[in-house]
């Protein structure tokens, strides 16, 4: 026992070698080797990180010389710089703990006063909130006018579309707690609905419609698709549901790819762009990205507005109840299947709107635009930003879509997603609740760590016969 405590306190010296007397089996099991001490493990992890970073930033390999990268990366001075940084970080963390924690405390104390005042003003005065929101909205609406054309394109084609998708997925996974890995399938259904109803597919619709009129139809189609997928599968929980949705995604994707006669297959589809013609007023969306951007901002603001009402209502509370304890929710009278279907359908229709918008903006799409990776990425955006929190999801999607584009200027474009991956790994270790988590989710996570309740409806269903 004494061995363990002294080693755990780790007062500078290596593990005591005084254990010369024969140890009992239990004591031997309890014994902590020097390398098991947390500080050495931390050093090891940091050194490994340094090597990884060296490999990430170092020479690129070629097919002519397979070991070029390894040779270059491990012989140059670069490796030593990284290692030195790692050791320095470790040393500061291990030996200057008191100083650093005092510094952190100090800044907390200094910033606590003003922060509290800001918070007070924010929660007390409605006018302040409205003012700030108006300012943010104005910035969102008019800010992009000042950026380069390339970034405007990124903003529309990717950021705005993915933000809309993330808001939809947030309903499913953040609020209802259903792990959906096939979310992009509904995006595809929306896009193909747009193509069908505007007459772009080999099969012709009864009447060719304007893209805007397709929106409600796509919403309905995705709603129905969501219910069709959900009704038989929402009895499943957590991992099982994830697999089923994954399968659904593959079905939709492969159908789009292989049903040449209906979907044009891998050749892709050309879709008309948005246009309005009301007789007295007509407008056509052309190549300039900004009009599309404003249109998408309208969709996004509308979705946020509607969904925020849901969150703080009977429906949002019922979703939380189902997420926390489905058995108790059902016993309390919450029709669990109906509410899960509702979340699924609402999420799916948001995805459908995004699909129509994407098709009508890009003017052309093919099945590769709906690859499985996108479903995973949208999920990552939601989790990164903070499940269940609209500001978090907005930030998560916008930031993570922007980051790889931004990195294009700094690193080898092929490596961009590697950095994204590293960021996600670090994030999940140090801040699993996301950047801007919802209050409910944060509490749930804390309670799950304390061993009270589950953070998700992914646990086994107790008290219910299989």
């Amino acid at each position: 026992m004494s061995i363990k405590t002294s080693a755990a306190q780790g007062a500078g010296q290596d593990s005591p070698k005084s254990a010369t007397a024969p140890l009992s089996a239990a004591a031997r099991l309890r014994k902590v080797h020097w390398y098991q001490e947390p500080r050495w493990r931390r050093l090891g992890a940091l050194l490994a990180l340094a090597v990884t970073l060296r490999l990430m930033t170092g020479e690129e390999g070629t097919t002519q010389d397979l070991f070029l990268a390894l040779r270059e990366d491990f012989t140059g001075v670069g490796l030593w710089i990284w290692l030195a940084i790692a050791v320095a970080v470790w040393a500061v963390r291990e030996f200057l703990t008191d100083q650093t924690s005092r510094a952190v405390e100090g800044t907390k104390k200094v910033s606590a006063g003003p922060l509290d005042r800001v918070r007070q003003v924010w929660s007390a005065d409605k006018r302040v909130r409205m003012g700030v929101l108006t300012a943010v909205l104005a910035l969102v609406v008019f800010g992009p006018l000042g950026v380069e054309r390339y970034w405007q394109q990124v903003l529309v084609d990717q950021i705005a579309i993915f933000v809309l998708l993330a808001i939809g997925l947030n309903v499913v996974i953040g609020w209802a707690g259903l792990l959906d890995l096939g979310f992009i399938a509904f995006f595809a259904i929306g896009a193909y609905s747009a193509a069908y109803w505007t007459g772009a597919l080999p099969v012709q619709p009864p009447v060719a419609l304007n893209n805007f009129l397709v929106l409600p139809i796509a919403v309905l189609t995705c709603l129905v698709a969501g219910v069709i997928l959900g009704a038989p599968t929402l009895r499943l929980r957590g991992d099982y549901l994830a697999i089923v949705t994954l399968g659904f995604h593959e079905i939709v994707y492969l159908m789009a790819k292989n049903a040449d006669g209906v979907t044009e297959g891998a050749r892709g589809v050309k879709v008309e762009r948005f246009s309005v013609d009301l007789g007295f007023f007509s407008y056509e969306w052309k190549l300039d990205p900004m009009p599309y951007y404003w249109l998408l901002v309208v969709f996004i603001v509308l979705a946020i507005f509607l969904f925020l009402r849901l969150e703080h209502s009977k429906v949002g509370r019922a979703w939380t109840a189902i997420r926390e304890d489905e058995v108790a929710a059902a016993a309390t009278g919450v029709p669990t299947v109906r509410y899960k279907l509702m979340a699924f359908a609402i999420g799916a229709s948001t995805s459908g709107v995004a699909g129509v918008a994407y098709a009508s903006k890009a003017g052309y799409f093919n099945p590769e635009n709906f690859a499985i990776l996108l479903s995973i990425l949208v999920l990552a955006y939601v989790i990164f930003g903070g499940m269940g929190s609209i500001p978090g999801v907005l930030f998560g999607a916008a930031f993570l879509v922007w980051l790889p584009e931004y990195l294009r200027e700094w690193v080898d474009p092929k490596d961009r997603y590697m950095y994204l991956g590293a960021l996600l790994v670090i994030m999940m270790i140090y801040r699993p609740q996301g950047v801007l988590p919802s209050r409910r989710r944060k509490r749930e996570l804390r309670m799950a760590e304390a061993g009270v309740g589950g953070a998700d409806a992914t646990g086994p269903a107790e008290g219910r016969q299989p």
Binding site: L306, V327, M447
Partner: protein, 327 residues
């Protein structure tokens, strides 16, 4: 083992709906898990407005009975009928749990199952809202009926919370309330659904003596003031004897006795299976210890801990209750 009962005190509840009318009736309910029979031909007759206690040793099938009544388990055989006040009857056998709750049977759980990350108020609102009909569309559009429903559920939740005495804690997280308060919050959540029958699964487990007294008082008030029939699983005999009008005893999934608390207490089968067994075992152990000298204490009182029941139905037939009758 008489089924004839003597009502201890005539509560004013149930007066409106003819005394002796059955609100809940089961016959021949049999529930098996593989080869294990958790409930064996259980008959239960519950009168409107009474407090009926279900007692029995660990693993006797009490919680399984609750789960069968509320749709969580589906017994293989038998009939479970619920007769609501407005007439007609519903078969509870295999009904969906949320439907059972909407018909008017509300329950609490042995191992508290609150929505821990929500406040006490929100917990109760969830229950109250299951009685309101507003769809997601009217909520999203903020229509007047959605707002009215929100206000109604808020009012109802406040009402119920003040009834159980948790109003001043309504904004605290359910998970951070004290154990006794969590038990009361579970009862509040069940009451918010406006039930006719309230099923309480060991409401006193883990509470201190003061909280037990408050709980006793609360159960009595729910029964008499609100006219709610109460079906109670409880190990605390003092509580059972003081609040229950009738007691039903289960052992190994079978009903072995039923009657007024005093009758049940005197019933030899019950004494043997439950109340007296502990004493006998102890006596036997003492006798043995005296005969053989010290050191034979082991195992004497091991099966006697009635306050830490963890039966989930699946572990029915725990072997420490070794009665002749069921061999």
């Amino acid at each position: 083992m008489t089924t004839e009962t003597v009502k201890k005190e005539q509560g004013p509840a149930g007066g409106s709906a003819g005394a002796g009318e059955l609100v809940l009736e089961t016959s021949g309910v049999t529930l098996r898990f593989g080869g294990l029979t958790s409930l064996d031909n259980v008959e239960l007759r519950m009168r409107r407005g009474e407090v009926l206690a279900v007692i029995g040793p660990n693993g006797a099938g009490k919680t399984s009975l609750f789960n069968s009544l509320t749709g969580a388990y589906v017994p293989q055989e038998g009939r479970i009928v619920f007769r609501p006040r407005e007439g007609g009857e519903h078969s509870l056998l295999g009904a969906k749990p949320h439907v059972v709750s909407q018909w008017g049977l509300a329950r609490t759980f042995q191992n508290i199952r609150l929505f821990g990350a929500l406040t006490a108020l929100e917990n109760v609102k969830i229950a109250a809202e299951t009685r309101l009909k507003t769809g997601p569309v009217s909520i999203m559009l903020g229509l007047p009926n959605a707002r009215k429903a929100e206000r109604a559920s808020d009012r109802r939740a406040h009402e119920v919370l003040s009834y159980v005495g948790l109003l001043e804690k309504m904004n605290e997280l359910a998970g951070s309330l004290s154990y006794g308060d969590q038990r009361r919050l579970e009862i509040a959540r069940a009451l918010a659904t406006d039930p006719e029958v309230l099923l309480l699964d060991e409401p006193a487990a883990g509470t201190n003596p003061t909280e037990k007294l408050e709980l006793e008082e609360l159960i009595r008030r729910i029964n008499t003031e609100l006219g709610v029939s109460v079906l109670l699983i409880e190990h605390d005999m003092r509580l059972v004897m003081s609040v229950a009008d009738r007691v039903m005893v289960l052992n190994f999934g079978k009903k072995i006795a039923e009657g007024s608390p005093s009758q049940v207490q005197r019933d030899p089968a019950v004494i043997e299976a439950y109340l007296g067994a502990v004493a006998e075992e102890d006596e036997a152990a003492v006798a043995q210890a005296v005969a053989e000298g010290a050191g034979a204490q082991e195992g004497a009182g091991s099966g006697a801990d009635t306050d830490t029941d963890t039966d989930t139905g699946a572990d029915a037939g725990a072997p420490q209750w070794d009665t002749e009758e069921h061999k």
